[in-house]
Structure formats: structure tokens, C-alpha cells
């Protein structure tokens, strides 16, 4: 999960846990650069930032030190830092709960005051810099379970995070005429570090996605080094611990390479790859074009010994997991490894603040029926995604196979619904699906399952949804009718167990 919960320590106060970092040229204004960082996995609608944590972006100019087996990037000392700080809540007002305020300290020391959740953010008087902070839909969409390399639907579906966003004028801020290649990291650090403490003053930092969870933590039985890594100083790892990290990266990248039974990374190439990964930052070239496909292109081209052609970076909608696992496993010499997720719950937008508002809490309807028939008998009738058993369904047609398969349902009163299969588990007698169209709700997901009981079987059908375009009463009525009628039909067909 990109950088979500990357180490035991991150669960203590998850508001310091960085989950993702994005860096890209604005798709609507190529003169501006956008940085986005997210924290607090599983944030609920009321989530707020800590008042004692610095949430910072750090940008450094890079020098490309070699190509091919000599590949490497050296961060230079010049640094641009954007630091967000937030306050405790003031007293509640008559109009509702107090809002959280804060500010962003810009490179050079000027501050820009902001209110958390203000959709348009706030802009400096010269228009150079614009910032935002607030709850957003989690933009990350992992489609692989890394241990087994099992393709799965986005397992962060409907999750939220807190995001901080900076958009700035590239030319006047970064002076790219002196070199347009940069490394970007995000970090969380104590706002009031104890001067007497010997503790390393950093909670978390993130450069490239999945450096910690997918890569550093991918060696079975290996010591969990993620907490240690998260306390390192970005751009300047502790020299004494470098051998430890080098060894871990080498072992992990070897394991990734072997997943398709082919070895694409020989010893020398692996060594170069490890060297590049030890310098962990998002690499961007603001003078070159960036797109959803350009993530890691700078590193990949450099390692392959050719000049890079894009600006690299990481856009909000970049399919970074599939790009990464394909590169790690077949070095882009085989098929693109498409996992089970192709987009986030709410894909990013092309305008500020680029990440979408937080997902509202879902509503749900669940119905169950205790039946006399065995679980197997019931599953044979209702277990197929294309099974025609529901009395309100007049016609049903299927397109495709397996997860992703579509079913077009025509109801007896002529309405059309289209649903997509998310997961089918024959052993557990369960399938999940999502609505594509036909009911005024978005998102809308359902699950149908059958379980054996002492007296026969139990069927459970549940739907979670968020009304869209209609009030909940109408939507709930539609869904309840669908489920009630289905359960009544099953009781009639198989007999109700008492």
C-alpha cells in the first residue's frame, strides 16, 4: 500500500503516517508544478491534522551521475521546503464545529494562512503559490496482493486520507534554467522537537511509492527495517546503515525478479538498480512532459543506458503499482502486468487541488434468509454471476469472463442495470459486484453469499451505496425491494428454515 502503515510505529498516531506522494506538472498549466502528500490511512469524515507535526515537501536539484551500470542520481545541496503546520481547534461556533486552521511556510520563509477543507485553497498575493489541506478520497489504487502476486480489486476502495497540496510557478520557484531535474520527498517531523532528546526527529518520509511495504518489507523472515528507514534523513541516509539497506534491497529485488521464473536483472544491473533505489525520491524533470505513463521513466531509461524522454514524476492517476511490479518482475521486457485495479475510487481531476473530496460514509441494506436446502444446492442456483433466478429480472446477458465481467439486467418493468463482477469465490460461495449504471447511486457495491447452517443454509445479500441524484429514501426503497423480493423468492423455492 504505497506508503500506508509502513512499519509498526505508524499505527501509534496514524496522522503522521504518510501514505503517498505525487509530483507532476499541472496538466492545465505546464508552467506550474504540483506536489501532493497524503496522511492518515482510513481517515473518516471528521479527520484533522495534528497540531504538533510538520507536514513538509522537500525538493532538491539532482545531478545524473551515470547511465546504465553506472546509473545514479546525486542530490545537490540547494533545497526548497514547503512546510504545513496546523493548530488545535478553537471553540465551537453557533454555526457548527470550529474549523481547523494552519499555514504553509514557503521557501524563503513567508507563510500562507489556510483553513482546512477550503476547497479552493489559498493563493499568495503574487499568484505564485497556491496551497490546500483537507480530507480527500484516497487516490491510491493497489491491484496486487504483493505476497502472492494475486490480482485483486482496489483494496483501498472508498478509503479517505488527509492531503496537503502545493502548486507553484515552476520558473520563479525552482530556477530550472540551472538544471531541471529534481528529487522530491515528503516527510512528517515533530513541530516541537525535544532539544534534549536523542531520538531521531522524524516520523515518516516517502519518496517513490512502495519503497517500504512492497520492497523493503518483502523478504520473508527478514527483520522489519521499515521503522528504521522511516527515521532516516532523506537525501542523506546514515552511512553506517547503508549496508543494511543495500542488502535488504538486493535480496528483495532478487525475489521480485524471480516471480516470473525469468532472471532479467544480472548482478551488475541489480547493483545499479539498488544504487538508484537507495536514493529514494520521486524524480521529476520539469522541462519535459509528464503523463500518467511517465512514472519511473527517468530511472528506467537511466538504468537502461539511454537518455530519458519524459519528466517522470507521479501524477494522481498514474498506475504506479502495475508500472512498478512490471519493471521489478520483467524489466519491461514482457507483458505489462495489469493488476485488478485500474483507477482510484475517485480518479484525480485536472484542476486544483487535483485530488477529489473525501468519500462520504456509505449506506447499506442487508437481507438474509435461512433456507432448508444445503448451501451447495442454493449456490448452484444463485452462485453464477449470470444466473437468472430473481423474479424481478426478465433478461440477463453477460459480457467477458472472471472479475471485470459485466452483466446487463433488464427488469420486468423494462429498466436496465449494468453491474460488474469484482470477485467470485466458489470455495466460500460468495461473489461481489459493483453497479455501473441503472440505480441512482454511486458508488454501489453488492455481495451475495451462502453459508451452511445446522438446518440447511443461510443466504446473505448486502448492498452498500451512496445515493446520487436522488434522496436516500427513494434509493433505499429501490434496493430494499430488490433484496426483499429476492429473499422471498428463495424462501419460496427452497423452503424457509425455522
Amino acid at each position: 500500500m504505497s506508503d500506508h502503515i509502513d512499519g509498526p510505529r505508524q499505527t501509534a498516531d496514524p496522522v503522521s503516517d504518510l501514505t503517498d506522494l505525487f509530483a507532476f506538472t499541472s496538466p492545465t498549466d505546464p508552467t506550474r508544478t504540483v506536489l501532493i502528500a497524503c496522511v492518515l490511512p482510513f481517515a473518516g469524515e471528521s479527520a484533522l491534522f495534528s497540531n504538533t507535526i510538520n507536514y513538509a515537501f522537500v525538493v532538491r536539484r539532482l545531478k545524473q551521475t551515470g547511465l546504465g551500470l553506472q546509473a545514479g542520481f546525486e542530490p545537490l545541496s540547494e533545497e526548497w521546503r514547503f512546510t504545513f503546520q496546523f493548530e488545535v481547534l478553537g471553540p465551537e461556533t453557533v454555526t457548527g464545529r470550529a474549523k481547523q486552521t494552519g499555514h504553509c511556510v514557503l521557501p524563503g520563509g513567508a507563510t500562507l494562512a489556510l483553513t482546512v477543507g477550503e476547497e479552493n485553497g489559498v493563493t499568495t498575493s503574487d499568484g505564485r503559490t497556491r496551497v490546500f489541506a483537507g480530507l480527500r478520497s484516497d487516490p491510491f489504487f493497489p491491484g496486487w496482493m504483493p505476497g502472492q502476486m494475486k490480482s485483486v480489486p482496489n483494496y483501498l476502495e472508498n478509503d479517505n486520507v488527509l492531503s496537503v497540496v502545493v502548486e507553484f510557478d515552476t520558473a520563479s520557484t525552482l530556477a530550472p534554467e540551472r538544471g531541471s531535474l529534481y528529487g522530491v520527498i515528503a516527510e512528517t517531523t515533530p513541530r516541537h522537537p525535544n532539544p534534549k532528546s536523542t531520538v531521531i526527529p522524524r516520523f515518516d518520509w516517502v519518496g517513490r511509492p512502495e519503497q517500504t511495504n512492497f520492497i523493503m518489507d518483502a523478504v520473508p523472515g527478514g527483520l522489519d527495517v521499515r521503522d528504521l528507514w522511516n527515521q532516516e534523513t532523506p537525501f542523506a541516509l546514515n552511512a553506517e546503515r547503508l549496508p543494511l539497506y543495500r542488502q535488504r534491497l538486493t535480496e528483495s529485488l532478487q525475489l521480485w525478479d524471480k516471480k516470473d521464473q525469468n532472471i532479467e536483472w544480472d548482478t551488475a544491473a541489480l547493483e545499479a538498480h539498488v544504487r538508484v533505489r537507495l536514493n529514494d525520491f520521486l524524480t521529476i524533470d520539469v522541462a519535459k512532459p509528464m503523463s500518467d505513463k511517465s512514472h519511473l521513466e527517468i530511472e528506467k531509461s537511466t538504468l537502461e543506458g539511454r537518455p530519458y524522454t519524459t519528466g517522470g514524476g507521479r501524477t494522481v492517476n498514474a498506475n504506479v503499482i502495475d508500472i512498478l511490479v512490471t519493471w521489478l518482475i520483467n524489466r519491461d521486457r514482457g507483458a505489462f502486468l495489469q493488476g485488478g485495479a485500474s483507477q482510484a475510487t475517485q480518479p484525480g481531476s485536472t484542476t486544483f487541488p487535483y485530488v477529489r473530496p473525501g468519500n462520504k460514509n456509505m449506506l447499506s441494506v442487508t437481507r438474509s434468509a435461512e433456507l432448508k436446502a444445503t448451501a451447495q444446492e442454493v449456490w448452484q442456483v444463485i452462485g453464477g454471476f449470470g444466473s437468472l433466478w430473481h423474479p424481478l429480472v426478465a433478461q440477463l446477458t453477460l459480457t467477458g469472463e472472471g472479475p471485470g465481467q459485466l452483466r446487463r439486467i433488464e427488469t420486468i418493468d423494462g429498466k436496465i442495470m449494468i453491474e460488474r463482477l469484482s470477485e467470485l469465490d466458489e470455495a466460500q460461495k460468495m461473489y461481489r459486484y459493483a453497479l455501473v449504471s441503472g440505480i441512482p447511486a454511486n458508488p454501489y457495491s453488492g455481495a451475495l453469499s451462502v453459508q451452511a447452517t445446522a438446518t440447511g443454509s443461510s443466504v446473505t445479500w448486502s448492498v452498500s451505496y451512496r445515493p446520487e441524484g436522488q434522496g436516500d429514501l427513494i434509493v433505499r426503497l429501490i434496493i430494499s425491494s430488490l433484496l426483499n423480493t429476492g429473499m422471498a423468492a428463495l424462501k419460496k423455492r427452497f423452503g424457509a428454515a425455522t
Binding site: 500500500m1 502503515i5 509498526p8 510505529r9 499505527t11 501509534a12 498516531d13 496514524p14 496522522v15 503522521s16 492518515l40 482510513f42 481517515a43 473518516g44 469524515e45 471528521s46 479527520a47 484533522l48 491534522f49 495534528s50 497540531n51 504538533t52 507535526i53 488545535v88 481547534l89 481547523q100 483494496y155 476502495e157 472508498n158 478509503d159 479517505n160 515533530p190 513541530r191 516541537h192 525535544n194 534534549k196 532528546s197 536523542t198 531520538v199 531521531i200 516520523f203 523472515g221 521503522d227 527515521q231 460514509n361 456509505m362 447499506s364 466460500q428 457495491s445 455481495a447 453459508q451 448486502s462 452498500s464
Partner: protein, 394 residues
Amino acid sequence: MNALHSSLALPAATDGTLALINHESILDRCWQTIDLHPDRLGIAAQLIDEEYRRSHFLGDASALDRLLTLSETLLQQCAESGEAYVLAAQIASFVHKFNQATQYLVQAKNLGASAHSLLRQQLSIDHAVGQNWKDVFDMRLRLSVQSPNLQNLVALGALYAEMGLYQEAEQSYLRAIAEDREHSPFSLAWACFQLGVLFGETLEPAQPASAQYWYEQALSYMPPYTHARVHLAELHLDAGRLDTALNLLLPIQGSEDPEVSWRLAQLYEQKGEAHAASHHLARTLQSFERVLDRHELAFADHAVDFYLEEGGNPEKALQLALLNLDNRATLRAFELSHEAALACGQQALAQSLADRAALQWGHLPAIAYSNLSSVANAALTPTSQNSTISFSTT
């Protein structure tokens, strides 16, 4: 033993109100997600942490009900997952169903759960029930060296306190606070609370001023911390500062934690307000009956104290104390049972309990501070594998 705290600069932490808002937002969100995706074990693990916080810091007994529901769901939906059984074991431990937790760990191992998670959970069970003490001590010490984080250092401090090594306990708690790297007000409040308990309840004689200091620090990190408010109110009650105690208890009087209404009953009794005292005493009785009905093992030891005192039911106290002892034969469990047996006039049983305690725990320094040490006939010399415990803290 209390000089150190004055020189310790308490670390900053996220404001308690903000942390509580985030806790509730995560809890709400995670329940929504687990309803949709009951096989997301990462969410389940987060839920267990958050519900435990709810139970411990806010005295919300319904958190335990929700955790048991979660456990059932996990075992239904992830019946082939070793990690799901580890989580079920963690939940069983929270409600003090240690035998069930151990059985879950066996199943978890058979299903291939990671050795690391099995070890952590087994350690937690062994510590709670007072078995394999040497291994528990060695492991706690090793963890505190390998990963000297707040969780490991507080757990080690608690173990030292149970052993009667109070200086070491205090040092371990103080180190936990000094070396905190997490900024979580929950964790820091917990460490401060443990110090309050050490000075206010474990030490003989108690040091109420130090205990008060640490309970107040706990509340500065986490203002609604129910247990800290109750313990601090008790100190103020003992000192006759009734209004101060009342100010601590009034904001949490809606809590389900029976100790809140119990303390209020004592307070109104001292104030001479018999009607209010009687009302709160009745509420306490109802609360204890309700939580014992739902989670008897989890609340048995707390209820013993109540039934021995204002609850006025020593027979029930003895029944609960023996149940607790059967579940976890710690020195504290022996002490409670002994006290309850005496209250019921069962001298022979009391003597037998004291002797058993001496046999099992005679090797620990804690026995010297226990009221059992003077009544036990058995020689206070170790007779079991525990004799090899090393108290070296290096």
C-alpha cells in the same frame, strides 16, 4: 523513587481532542469498510487497536461487544487465514478468554501465521496469565533492547511492577516517555497512567503526590481518559478534596465504566448526600451486573473489590475472585481471592490460597510487599522452573 519525574521534559503530542476526533473518524470508517470487505485483515487489525483504545481510555464496554462480533466475522470470512486467527486470539485476550486465545493461536500456527505475530500474541497471553515467567521476562527485556519504543518499555515496566521491582518499573516507564517517538497522546497518557498506578496503588506505602502528578499528566495528554480520572478522583477523595474529585468525575458520569458511578457514590456518601450516594450505588451495581453478564472474565477482578466493599456481597466477590484466579493465577489474583475468602469467613480456603501463592510466587520480590507473605505457611523459596529467573536488567 520519585525524584526523576521532575527533571523529565514531557514530550509533545498531538492535542488529545484532535486525536480523539481522528480516533472516532477512523473507527467509523473502518467499521464501514469491514462491513463491505470482511476479509481486509489490515482494517480488522486497525479496528482492534481503535476499539481497545475506546475501551481503555473511554471506558466503553460496548467496544468489547463489537470486538467479539468482529472476531466471529473474521473466523467466518477468513477461516483459512492464520493471521485472522491471530487477530481472534488478540480479541479473546482483551476479554480475558485466555484459553480460547491459546486455542486460536494453535489454529493460527497450523494455518501458517507468521512466527512474529504468533510470538507477540503468545507473549501477551503468558504475561497476562502469569505463566512461563522466565520466558516472558527474557522476551520483554529483549524487545525493549531491540525496539526500545514506548509500547515495549511500558510493557516491561508493568512486568517489573508485578515482580516487585519498583525502581526498575519506574525507570522503564520514564524511559518510555523520554524516548517516545510517536507523538500519540494515547500512548503517552498510558505511560503516565502506569506511573500513577505504580505510585498510587502498587507501592507500599503509596506516594499520593507522585501518583497525582502522573495522573494529571495522563489527563493533560488525553483529557477524557476515564481510568485516569477515576484514579485521580480517588486520591482527592482520600484527601478530602471532594469538589476536586467531583469536577473530575462529572464530565464522565455518563460512562458505562462501573467505577465512575462507584466513585461518585463514595463521594456523595462523604458529602453526606445519602440520596445521591444511594442512586449512584444502585447504578454501580447495575453496571457491574451488566458488564459481568457480557464479559465476566474481563471484569471479574474489578468487581471483586466492589462486592467486598460497597457492593456488600462477599460471597459473590469470592466466586468472582476464584473464577479470576482460575483464569489467570497472578499474585494479584491470589491476593484478591485470599481477601474474599477471609471476608466470607473461609479461613482454611484463605490459608490454602496464601500457601499456593507463596509456592507459585515466593521467588518474586513482590511477595515481600504482599499481605500474603505474613500468612503463608509454605516456605517462600522457589520450587519451580521460575527459580531460574534472572533479575538482571542489563
